[in-house]
């Protein structure tokens, strides 16, 4: 390893040395703002990005019930560099919680009665109600019916924001491997602002219809995007930090995938 380290350093340097002036500048400012700024732990504002590219709850799923296995049947995750059959490849919504576990940036926007999350993927907004309304249940939930992003209620427990989401559409995959979730599932998120640059998220799925035990996710870390990236043209020409990463069938299906199909021996091999 000792012999390897200089080589790794050289390779890393070679990989980053060009066109990194902007980011080096951000890095310096990023460090400066970390030491200079005080944090209100109830203010999650900012643009955040997961530090680890993991589109799942981050832990192995507990065993599925028979109904859970039936719901998962036919779902093919990506394998060997080829895409599986996840619904988002056809521009369907990722749904909750898959979108929260995506690797693209997310912005928290604090308002008096709602906390909003704006996701770059899908350019999607999620509303976490903090006005004291109860989590929908029973007849109310049955009447509301399923939604791709469910119905979310949030409250502060000390410095932890606890979000409960119910009423999820079972067509959306829980994660990148195709685990299921039922309409009657509840997902609890615990968000905590650790310091100026760091957010922690821990997520647990309660779904006795599809799982034999609660599915407790790992602790995930988000880092704050430097403030400079949020100003006009901060990212070298982007108008704002969160941009529109919209899966539009006109782009995706007619444009990009058709382009890729030209180079495929089998057009269905995505």
């Amino acid at each position: 390893m000792r012999r390897l380290t200089p080589m790794i350093v050289v390779l890393l340097l070679a990989a980053v040395v060009q066109a990194q002036d902007e980011k080096s500048k951000y890095k310096a400012r990023y460090d400066a703002q970390a030491s200079n700024k005080k944090v209100d732990p109830h203010d999650l504002s900012g643009i955040w990005q997961l530090t680890k590219n993991d589109h799942s709850l981050g832990t192995p799923a507990p065993p599925l019930t028979a109904a859970g296995q039936a719901a998962k049947a036919g779902r093919m995750p990506d394998a060997g560099g080829a895409n599986g059959n996840a619904p988002w490849y056809a521009c369907n919504p990722m749904g909750f919680p898959r979108l929260v576990n995506d690797d693209e940036p997310m912005e928290f926007i604090m308002t008096p009665n709602r906390i909003l999350q704006l996701f770059q993927s899908e350019h999607r907004i999620r509303m976490l109600w903090t006005d004291g309304r109860p989590v929908p249940s029973g007849e109310n939930l049955e009447n509301l019916g399923p939604a791709w992003y469910g119905h979310s209620v949030a409250k502060w427990n000390g410095n932890t924001l606890v979000v409960n989401t119910v009423g999820l559409d079972d067509r959306a995959w829980l994660d990148n491997v195709g685990n299921p979730k039922s309409f009657h599932a509840r997902i609890e998120e615990q968000w905590r602002r650790v310091d100026y640059n760091t957010l922690e998220l821990q997520m647990t799925l309660y779904d006795p219809e599809y799982y034999t035990a609660p599915y407790v996710g790992s602790k995930k870390i988000y880092k704050r995007t430097p403030d400079e990236a949020m100003t006009y043209f901060g990212w070298n020409g982007l108008f704002a930090g969160i941009t529109e990463s919209i899966c539009a069938p006109m782009n995706e299906v007619d444009g990009y995938n058709k382009f890729r199909d030209l180079g495929r021996s089998k057009p269905t091999d995505r």
Binding site: E104, P105, T225, N236, C247, Y256, G263
Partner: protein, 130 residues
């Protein structure tokens, strides 16, 4: 060393964005590199991946239009590129991994401008078209 690793980690996180969800399986021959010399004929500056087309003369003098894919708009913009970085008619040399089936489509390795400078280089991590 720690600072370098932190910087590398930060860059990796920033550049991991956009459309890591497209596998490139079975499309391109990643072991093969082709050098294309020609002129830019079209720039499709949009997500999910930016497509750049160029006219290349083959050995018989016949013009073949090649297209090669790049990362998405956000990622390229963060690297300092924009919709007018490459203009129609501009002479460029593109190093690409070509389609496995021989079609004139490819994924970028890097682009060399007339003055010899290299841009949008996947080699240098500026264009993570995955």
């Amino acid at each position: 060393m720690n600072r370098l690793l932190t910087l590398v980690a930060l860059i990796a996180v920033l550049s991991a964005s956009l459309l890591a969800h497209h596998g490139r399986g079975a499309t391109y021959d990643m072991k093969k590199r082709v050098t294309l010399k020609g002129t830019v004929s079209r720039v499709e500056w949009r997500n999910p991946h930016v497509l750049i087309y160029m006219d290349v003369k083959d050995a018989d003098g016949k013009v073949v239009t090649w297209g090669f894919e790049n990362s998405g708009v956000s990622t390229l913009a963060q690297e300092g590129y924009n919709r007018n970085t490459l203009k129609v008619g501009q002479p460029i040399t593109a190093i690409v991994n070509p389609a496995a089936n021989g079609a004139p489509t490819a994924i970028v390795v890097k682009i060399v401008l007339a003055d010899g400078s290299e841009i949008m280089s996947r080699d240098n991590g500026e264009n993570p078209a995955n």
